[in-house]
Symmetry: C2
Subunit: 209 residues, 2 copies
DNA sequence: TATTCTTTACTGAACGATCGGTAAGTTAGC
DNA sequence: GCTAACTTACCGATCGTTCAGTAAAGAATA
């Protein structure tokens, strides 16, 4: 692969360096689209709007993607895909339920931070189309897997049993998912520090001991 | 356009006054609108859509409200107004910082539950228009007031100091605000039980002691 | 090397559908 | 008859999408 080229040109994909007047390849289009969707909402973002941000025309976008919904599909797939991977990692499968829960929650925070705009979009989806409903269904399954871990950790005696288990899980999710609303990567708080803080507050609470 | 509500024309049915072929008064229109906005998003909800839900025509809605944005304005005003009231109650002004914090958080949960659809809409606003930005600004001020309470409770020695104060506050908000995404009034969990669970998890964490 | 063909990556204009909103006429109850 | 509460018909703007055309560059042919 040739990497000595000017960055504004030839962002070629596979084996051959073809003609490319500008670098509007799919990853770039997707990145701009996800940013715009998060800023103004999916419905409020028009294809003309995206074209302006890309410095190109509306119809040029259609060379790279099938349509507006396709951009949403690709973005949601990326987000939910990365989250699902966490459940397949070894740390999510061995150890006590409490250990596995901590591992999965850490992994979720990691994905939230590393793919922040994509996960942000996923968490705002309300099920308006088949694509959104499909992403929502996969998210529901992911949530359910963590919910089972909470139940197990409870049965183990690791977690408190005086609060409804379902409520506990929901509040836990609420806390973690809210990260996308305020966390700025590259700021003063590192990803690792954030993960530690989240687990501390979640498991030990706000009260001083 | 005047800031105040109370349009002198709306003949409310309370004292039984004017002709009313159907019960499409402002509160009913607003209720249907907020429900629709929450289900499909503000942008994805058309005036025609609202008219169908009301069993009337699009233009009939314009007799009761100035336009689509006006519906949003009224809904957001109600939500943020109720939240702001909590800060003015006596319990929010006397006692230790920890006590005031618990009072305000309880109050926030109470408003969230009692005006669930309105607060849901408020929490989903992203600042796309002047109206949204104005609501967002008031919400930011409300959040900041609670943030100061957390700082005070910390200085008092009531709250832990080993986690960043700003992060603590954000996670606390994330947890509480997430309620609008899953709580169903009239279900098995009462408002009071929910409030208690939230405070327990927030202050004491998930771990069994 | 010179010419032609093919593919890539667009441009610009236009499409039908739908949007929020309005104008003007109509009906029900006092 | 007056007015509140509509209805029907329509407006211009904008939406996502399509389509014919085309410039640029590599590949094939001579």
């Amino acid at each position: 692969m040739s990497e000595s080229n000017a960055p504004s040109r030839t962002a070629h994909k596979g084996g051959n360096g073809r003609a490319q007047r500008d670098a509007y390849d799919l990853p770039r289009v997707l990145e701009i689209a996800v940013t715009a969707f998060n800023e103004h909402g999916y419905d409020a973002t028009s294809m003309g709007n995206l074209a302006d941000r890309l410095g190109t025309s509306k119809s040029a976008i259609y060379y790279h993607v099938a349509g507006k919904e396709d951009l949403l599909r690709l973005a949601l797939e990326r987000a939910i895909g990365e989250l699902e991977k966490v459940l397949d990692e070894p740390g999510a499968k061995s150890g006590s339920a409490a250990e596995r829960l901590r591992f999965v929650l850490s992994g979720a925070v990691r994905v939230l931070v590393d793919d922040l705009p994509f996960v942000t979009l996923l968490l705002r989806v309300r099920g308006n189309s088949d694509i959104e409903r499909s992403a929502l269904e996969r998210r529901r399954r992911f949530d359910h897997a963590i919910s089972r871990l909470v139940d197990e950790a409870r049965d183990e005696g690791s977690l408190r049993a005086d609060v409804d288990a379902a409520v506990t899980t929901r509040l836990l999710f609420g806390m973690i998912n809210s990260i996308v609303e305020w966390y700025k990567p590259g700021g003063s708080i590192t990803r690792e520090q954030l993960t530690e803080d989240v687990l501390t507050v979640a498991f030990d609470g706000l009260t001083k001991r």
